[in-house]
C-alpha cells in the first residue's frame, strides 16, 4: 500500500530541508542576545509576521483535520474560518494588539503578570508550556506514523530525523528561523495543494456537479456509510453553510445548533484561541513596530478567509467522488495494522471450515477487529467491531480462500497477498477521514507534483513543531526560569537558557510523541484537560483589558472557577459516548462538537461572573498609574488618522469583516 517516490520527489524534499537548515545558518550571525533569539528583536515586517501568524495556526493536523471535517460535515466546516477566526483576528488587531505590543511584554503570560499578579501568570504559563510540548509531540507522532504508513519509512528514524532538522534550524536562528520557515511553509502548502484541488474539482465535473452529487448524498448518507441507517437531511446539508444549521442540530451532520456555533465557537473559543494563545500572538509581537504588529492578524485574515477552498473543498470532493460509482474512488478505510492483516489472511483461509457462510463472516470480522482494536480483557471480545460490506466480504472469501495469501515468500505469492489486501480493505465500510487529503494526493499527483505535495505536508508538520518549541522556550525562559528560578542574571545567561530550553523542548516533544503512540486514550484526556484550561481564558482577558477595576484575586479565582466549570460540565454531560465520568448524565448532545461549544460557553460565563463579583469584593492591587498601557480606558488612543487608509487597522478590519459577510452570504 506504500507510495513509491521517484528521484525527483526525493530531490524536492531534500531541497526543502536544505533551504530551512540554510536559513537557520544564515540567521545565526544575527543572534546576539536573548531577545534576538526568543522575540526576534521585534524587527520583522508585517507581511512576514502575518503569513507566519496564519502558518503557525495551519499546522498539518489542521490541514488533515479540516479535509476530514469537510467530508464529514460539508461546507459548514467553513464556520471554523469565517465565524471562528476572522472576527477574533480583527478584534486582536484593532483592540488587543496595542496592549500586547505597547506594554513591551515579551509573552502573553508576562502581560498577565503586568496586568494582574504572579498567580495568574504562573497558572497561564505552566499550562501553556505543558500544552505546547504535548501539541508538538502529538503532531510529530502523526508525522512519523504517516511516513511509516505511506512511504514505509522506519517510525523511529522518521521521528528523530525530522526533529533533528527542526532542532538545527531553531537552535541556529531562534524565533526568526521559525517565522521564516513558516512563511516558506505557507507558500509550500498553497502551491502544493492548489493543483490537487484543481484536478479533483475537474474530475468530479466542476463545482455545480460536486454540489449535485452532495445533494444526493445528504438525502441518504447511510448509502455511503457516512451516517447510521435511517438518517436523512435536507439536500443542502453538505453544500450550504447556514441553512442546515438554522434548521436545528438534528438537521445538519455536525449536530450543532446556532447558539453553540455563534456564541460557543464564534465568540468564546475563537476569541480565546486567537487573542490569548501565545503561539500565534508571539508572531505579531515579533513585528518591527506597533503598526506592523496590528496589521499582522489583518494580513493573516486574508488567506485565512480563503483557505476553505484549499482545505475543506478536498473533503467535499472526496464525498462527491465516493458517491459517483464510475470514479473508482472511496474515502479510505482505516489502515490495517500488521497483526490485523495476518489475522485477516488466516481467518479467510479458515472460512470454508465454518458451519455456514454467516458464521464464517462473523468470525472473520471478530478476529480482524480484535487484532486491529485490541481485546476487552473482561469479555474476551474485540473492543470495537469494525464494519464490513458483508456481500463484498463474502466474494473476497470465495476468491481468496484457496489461494496462498498467508505467505509472502515468492514473487507470485507476494503479488497475491497484495491483491488480497486491496480487495479485503475495500470491504471495510469504516472511514479514515483523516486519510482523505492524502488519498487525493495519491490519486491525482504524478511523480514530481507528488514530491511537492508531500513536501508541503512534511513542511507543515515540521514548522508546527518549530512554532510550538519557539513559544515554549520563550515562556520557559522569561516566565518560569527568569521569574521564579533565576532572576537578575545576565542577558547572555538567558540567551543560553533559551537555547537549552530549545533542546529540552524538542527532546520532551519526542518523548510525548512516543507517549501519544502508546497511550491513545491518555492523549485524549490530556487534550481534554487543555480544553478545560483554555475555554474560560478569554473572559479574564476581556475584563482585564477593558475594566480597570478588575483585580488579580478576581482574575485568578475566576479563571480557576472557569476551569472547574468546564471539568464539571464535561463530567455531567454525554456526547457520542464521551464525558459523563462523574457518574451522572444531565444532558446528551448529538455530537462532541456541540458538547465542546456548550462547555466553553458555560466556562466563559462562570469565569466572567466570578471575576466580576470577586473583583468588586476585593481591593484594587494596582493603581491607575500602574495600569497605564495595560487597560483600555487608561491608555492613550493610538492616533493613525494621518496614515494612509490601507495602513489603518480599523479600516482594514471593517473591510475584512464585510468580505467575510459576503462569503457567508454566497455560501448561505
Amino acid at each position: 500500500m506504500h507510495i513509491s517516490l521517484g528521484v525527483i520527489d526525493y530531490a524536492v524534499l531534500l531541497i526543502y530541508v536544505a533551504f530551512v537548515v540554510g536559513i537557520g545558518f544564515a540567521l545565526r550571525r544575527y543572534m546576539r542576545s536573548s531577545s534576538d533569539f526568543l522575540t526576534s528583536g521585534r524587527s520583522i515586517p508585517a507581511w512576514v509576521t502575518g503569513l507566519a501568524f496564519i502558518s503557525a495556526n495551519l499546522g498539518a493536523l489542521e490541514l488533515v483535520g479540516m479535509a476530514a471535517s469537510g467530508a464529514k460535515y460539508g461546507i459548514a466546516t467553513s464556520h471554523f474560518y469565517w465565524v471562528g477566526a476572522i472576527p477574533a483576528m480583527v478584534f486582536l488587531a484593532v483592540f488587543m494588539m496595542p496592549f500586547y505590543y505597547g506594554s513591551k511584554a515579551r509573552s502573553v503570560p508576562e502581560y498577565l503578570k503586568m496586568r494582574f499578579d504572579e498567580r495568574v501568570r504562573a497558572l497561564n504559563s505552566i499550562a501553556f508550556a505543558v500544552m505546547t510540548v504535548f501539541a508538538s509531540g502529538i503532531s510529530m507522532n502523526a508525522l512519523a506514523k504517516l511516513l511509516n504508513q505511506l512511504l514505509g519509512w522506519n517510525y523511529h528514524l522518521a521521528l528523530w530525523i525530522c526533529s533533528a532538522v527542526v532542532l538545527v534550524y531553531v537552535l541556529k536562528g531562534g524565533l526568526t528561523s521559525a517565522i521564516y520557515t513558516e512563511v516558506l511553509q505557507f507558500f509550500m502548502i498553497v502551491l502544493g495543494f492548489a493543483p490537487v484541488v484543481y484536478l479533483g474539482l475537474k474530475d468530479v465535473g466542476g463545482w455545480d456537479a460536486m454540489n449535485n452529487a452532495l445533494h444526493g448524498v445528504a438525502q441518504n448518507p447511510a448509502a455511503l456509510h457516512l451516517k447510521p441507517p435511517g438518517t436523512t437531511y435536507g439536500p443542502d446539508a453538505w453544500s450550504s453553510a447556514w441553512k442546515p444549521l438554522l434548521a436545528g442540530s438534528s438537521h445538519n451532520p455536525m449536530g450543532v445548533d446556532v447558539f453553540a456555533m455563534v456564541f460557543g465557537l464564534g465568540f468564546v473559543l475563537s476569541f480565546g484561541y486567537w487573542c490569548t494563545n501565545f503561539l500565534v500572538v508571539q508572531r505579531a509581537m515579533a513585528a518591527k513596530d506597533m503598526g506592523a504588529a496590528r496589521r499582522t492578524p489583518l494580513i493573516a485574515a486574508v488567506p485565512k478567509m480563503l483557505f476553505p477552498a484549499l482545505v475543506i473543498v478536498p473533503g467535499m470532493i472526496a464525498v462527491a467522488l465516493t458517491s459517483i460509482p464510475n470514479k473508482n474512488y472511496r474515502i479510505p478505510p482505516p489502515p490495517l495494522e500488521a497483526k490485523a492483516i495476518t489475522a485477516a489472511a488466516a481467518a479467510v483461509k479458515a472460512a470454508p471450515e465454518a458451519a455456514n457462510s454467516q458464521v464464517a463472516l462473523a468470525d472473520i470480522i471478530e478476529q480482524v477487529s480484535a487484532a486491529q482494536n485490541g481485546v476487552n480483557p473482561q469479555t474476551g471480545k474485540p473492543k470495537k467491531l469494525m464494519n464490513f460490506d458483508e456481500a463484498k466480504l463474502a466474494q473476497v472469501v470465495k476468491a481468496f480462500a484457496s489461494k496462498p495469501i498467508d505467505l509472502n515468500q515468492t514473487k507470485e505469492e507476494k503479488a497475491c497477498e497484495e491483491q488480497f489486501l486491496a480487495a479485503f480493505t475495500n470491504t471495510i465500510t469504516d472511514y479514515d477521514y483523516d486519510g482523505v487529503i492524502l488519498s487525493l494526493v495519491r490519486k491525482y499527483c504524478p511523480t514530481g507534483l507528488l514530491g511537492l505535495a508531500l513536501t508541503a505536508l512534511l513542511a507543515s508538520f515540521m514548522s508546527g513543531m518549530a512554532g510550538n518549541v519557539t513559544a515554549f522556550n520563550t515562556v520557559w525562559t522569561y516566565d518560569l526560569y527568569q521569574a521564579y528560578m533565576a532572576p537578575n542574571k545576565s542577558d547572555q545567561h538567558y540567551f543560553w537558557m533559551g537555547q537549552a530550553a530549545t533542546v529540552v523542548g524538542i527532546i520532551t516533544s519526542i518523548a510525548c510523541a512516543y507517549f501519544a503512540r502508546m497511550y491513545n486514550n491518555a492523549m485524549d484526556i490530556i487534550q481534554l484537560v487543555f480544553a478545560f484550561v483554555n475555554a474560560p481564558l478569554f473572559a479574564t482577558f476581556l475584563l482585564g483589558m477593558f475594566w480597570k477595576r478588575c483585580t488579580g484575586t478576581g482574575a485568578f479565582l475566576g479563571l480557576s472557577g472557569g476551569i472547574g466549570t468546564s471539568a464539571l460540565f464535561h463530567g455531567l454531560t454525554m456526547a457520542e459516548g464521551k464525558g459523563g465520568w462523574l457518574g451522572a448524565n444531565l444532558q446528551s448532545f448529538p455530537s462532541t462538537m456541540a458538547q465542546n461549544f456548550w462547555m466553553a460557553s458555560f466556562a466563559f460565563i462562570v469565569c466572567f461572573v466570578l471575576t466580576l463579583g470577586i473583583s468588586l469584593a476585593t481591593r484594587r492591587s494596582k493603581t491607575d498609574e500602574e495600569l497605564k498601557g495595560l487597560v483600555y480606558s487608561l491608555t492613550p488612543k493610538i492616533k493613525d488618522h494621518e496614515q494612509a487608509w490601507y495602513l489603518r487597522p480599523a479600516v482594514l478590519g471593517t473591510i475584512l469583516l464585510a468580505c467575510c459577510v459576503i462569503l457567508n452570504y454566497i455560501f448561505w
Partner: protein
C-alpha cells in the same frame, strides 16, 4: 532582521519549478505518467506557475536590496 526572506523563497520555488518543467518536458510524450492527472501534463503547467512565482519573489528581493534601508518608523521602541 538581516536576511530578506524573499531570497530563499524565490530561490526555492524557482529551483523546484525548473525541475518540474524539465520533468514535464521529458515525460511529455508518455501519456501513462499523466493518466492519474486526467491527461494534463500537470508537472509542466504547475512547474511554470512555480517558476513565475519564484522569479517574482527574486525580482522583489533584488529591487529591495538596491534601495537604501528604510528608515526606522517613529513608534519603534
Amino acid at each position: 532582521m538581516g536576511l530578506d526572506i524573499r531570497w530563499p523563497i524565490g530561490l526555492l520555488f524557482s529551483l523546484v519549478g525548473a525541475m518540474l518543467v524539465i520533468l514535464g518536458l521529458v515525460t511529455s510524450s508518455d501519456p501513462e505518467v499523466y493518466r492519474c492527472s486526467l491527461g494534463i501534463n500537470i508537472n509542466l503547467r504547475w512547474g511554470l506557475v512555480l517558476l513565475v512565482f519564484g522569479a517574482a519573489m527574486l525580482a522583489m528581493a533584488w529591487r529591495a536590496s538596491r534601495q537604501p534601508a528604510e528608515p526606522l518608523s517613529s513608534d519603534k521602541k
